[in-house]
């Protein structure tokens, strides 16, 4: 079976999904079921003190026994805040150590601050975390994150939530070719073909949130993404035919044509 292996654990789905921006938990659950994802990202936030204590929680909609939680550091702009957030996440999730590190540069672009990301990764890896790290598509930084001991490197395809697709397939290709840990495109996928292209390039997986949650019909898009990731993976494994520039090649026999 063609599994995605992260930090020694195998997952059947190569689609990782976020749990934000859905209209309610029932839509969240339906979309995630349709996506077939095993790994779901969650954010860590202050509890609303004084709110109705019987309000449903994300953990009720997506029981941690059925999914692998990937707590993130979305909204953190310094290494220190990211480290603190993930230590809280580890406590919250009973010692769970697989995490998504992201340290952002500014709220307009949400582009990663790679200097702070490298600093946080170093501390977290030493502290026993299994770090899946969001980063730019800079191949040198990607390599440095692998050298630090991150268990997956997750370059952006384009800005978070932009749906602009894969803007620089060449950089992604360099990262895929040079790293040994899984490379997961995280951020920027807008529609199914973007996910398929990422997988055809040889990415090990794709992580997305807004492409599904922001679709007119999120559950249907989740199903489309599942198929796109599977199709892209199979096309990658099959090995595409070489491109022949300015040279056609007939698919039908060239002999026995009538009238010749």
């Amino acid at each position: 079976m063609d599994s995605l292996v992260i930090a020694g654990r195998a997952y059947s789905s190569r689609l990782l999904v976020g749990t934000g921006k859905y209209k309610d938990f029932s839509e969240t659950r339906a979309a995630i079921d349709a996506s077939g994802a095993n790994i779901v990202t969650v954010a860590i936030r202050r509890t609303n003190i004084g709110q109705d204590p019987n309000q449903p929680s994300l953990l009720d909609a997506l029981p941690p026994s059925q999914f692998t939680y990937l707590p993130n550091t979305a909204g953190c702009y310094t290494a220190d805040d990211a480290i603190r957030t993930l230590r809280l996440a580890r406590e919250l999730l009973d010692g769970h150590s697989l995490v998504k590190l992201e340290v952002l540069g500014d709220p307009q672009s949400l582009y990663p601050n790679v200097v702070e990301t490298l600093r946080a990764a170093e501390v977290l890896v030493k502290d026993g975390f299994q770090v899946m790290v969001y980063t730019s598509d800079d191949p040198i930084v990607a390599r440095q994150l692998e050298d630090i001991g991150c268990v997956a490197v997750m370059p952006l395809a384009s800005l978070i939530g932009s749906g602009m697709g894969i803007l620089n397939p060449w950089n992604l290709q360099i990262i895929i070719d040079r790293l040994t840990v899984p490379v997961i495109v995280d951020a920027g996928v807008g529609t199914a073909s973007d996910a398929a292209i990422a997988m055809e390039l040889g990415c090990d997986a794709v992580l997305m949130n807004t492409a599904i949650a922001g679709a007119q019909q999120p559950v249907l898009m989740a199903s489309a993404m599942k198929k796109a990731v599977e199709a892209g993976r199979e096309a990658f494994l099959a090995g595409r035919m070489p491109k022949k520039v300015y040279q056609a090649s007939p698919s039908s026999p060239t002999t026995g044509i009538i009238g010749t």
Binding site: I49, S57, L58, E91, L92, G161, M208
Partner: protein, 67 residues
């Protein structure tokens, strides 16, 4: 009377109390939460023993939807 800062908000309690008591007082008993006191995690196993005192800063977090 003790003054605490919980999730950035000032809160007053009549006397020093344990984290476990605080969690009950905040209607969070039985909820999946994590607590940090003055920048340090307070593990769930220590909520009964760990006490909060005047001036303590607490963060109490949950998992929410996110990407």
């Amino acid at each position: 009377m003790i003054n605490l800062r919980i999730n950035g908000q000032p809160r007053q309690f009549p006397a020093p109390l344990s984290i476990a008591d605080l969690v009950v007082a905040l209607d969070l008993a039985g909820k999946r939460i994590a607590v940090e006191k003055n920048g340090e995690i307070v593990p769930r196993s220590q909520h009964g023993n760990a006490r909060v005192a005047d001036g303590d800063q607490l963060e109490i977090v949950v998992a929410v939807g996110g990407g």
